[in-house]
Symmetry: C2
Subunit: 197 residues, 2 copies
Amino acid sequence: MLQHAPTLTRLVGELKKLPGIGERTALRLAFHLLKSPQNLGSLAEALTQVQERVCACSVCFALTEQNPCPICSGGRDSSVICVVETSQDMLALERSNAYHGSYHVLQGAISPLHGVNPDDLRIRELLMRIEQGKVEEVVIATNFTVEGETTALYLARQLKPLGIRVTRLAHGIPLGSDIEFVDPATVQWAMKGRSEL
Amino acid sequence: MLQHAPTLTRLVGELKKLPGIGERTALRLAFHLLKSPQNLGSLAEALTQVQERVCACSVCFALTEQNPCPICSGGRDSSVICVVETSQDMLALERSNAYHGSYHVLQGAISPLHGVNPDDLRIRELLMRIEQGKVEEVVIATNFTVEGETTALYLARQLKPLGIRVTRLAHGIPLGSDIEFVDPATVQWAMKGRSEL
C-alpha cells in the first residue's frame, strides 16, 4: 500500500529523521495522525508558525520569538553572564530558579572530532559583549562532557586575562541519589568540593 | 523561556498528543526541528500533503491517495475478501505476500466497553459488497484480542447464513519463538491445529 501512497511515504520519511524515531514508530505516528485529521492539521500549522517566528536572539543567541529575547530585554542582571551550550540548557537553568543574570548560548561545544572549532561557536560574540558591557562574572555552564569541559577550559583561558571572575557550576552527587550507585569520578568531585555544615 | 514562546509551546503541545511522546520527548523533538529548519519545513509540508490527499477508499475503506485504492482497482481476486481492523493490519498482510485477494477495513473492532457497536464499523458496507458481488470466501483477520475475537464471531454469524465460506487466520506458535516461553493458550491452539508432516 505504501508504494502507492507517496505523501504517506514522505511523511514517514520526515518523521524518521527525528531523534529516537525509527521506521515502525514513524508509521505508527503517521497512522495515528491520519486517524485524527484535526491533530494533523494543527501539528502542521504549529510547525509552520515555529518556522516563521522562532529565531536566535541577536544578543544571547537563545531561540526566541522576540528579538532581543525576553531575558535579554527583561531588565535582568547584565553584570553576570551564564554561558551554556544550547537553549535547552538555558531552559533547565531557568527551571531551577537559581539564577537571575543574563545568558549566552554558544550553539554547541568545541569538538575537534566533529569538526567544531572555537570559531564555529558564538565565542567571538561573547567576547564582544564583555568588551562593550560592565560584565563582572561569567558562569560557565557547558555540559560535563569531554566537549563541554574542553569548551569551559578554552573560555576560561580567553576570559581570565580580561580580569573577569570566571566560575563553573559545581560537580557533586545529584539530589535523591544513592552514593552507592554514583560513579567514582563524581564522588571524587563531591569529596573535593565538600563544605562545612 | 517557554512562557515567552507561544508557538514553541504550541508545537510541544501538538507533539505531546502523539502516542508514546511525553513532555520531555516533545521538547527534544521541537528543539531538534528548530536546529534544522529544512526538516521542519518539509515535515510541515508532508503533513499538509497527507491531510489533503489521503482519504478512505470508497470500496474497502483503506487509507489511500487514489479512490478506489490501488488494491481495489488493481485487478486482484475479488472473490475473496480479507476483513481487517485497520489499514496497518492490511499493510502487515501485504508485507507477508501470502494473500492476493481484496480487503475490507472495518476501521475498528466491536468493543462495548469503549462504546463501539457493530453499527460504528464498516460492517454494513461489507454486507453490501457481498450482496453485489460474487464473493466466495471471507477471511477474517481481526486481531486476536477480546475485541477482535468478538468482531470475528459477530461477522461469522452474519456471513454464514449467506452461504459464504468464512475463515479465520490460524493461531499458533510464531516463527523463531521458543515453545518454552509461549503462553499456554497459544500452545493449546497450536496443538489443536497441528498438521501432518
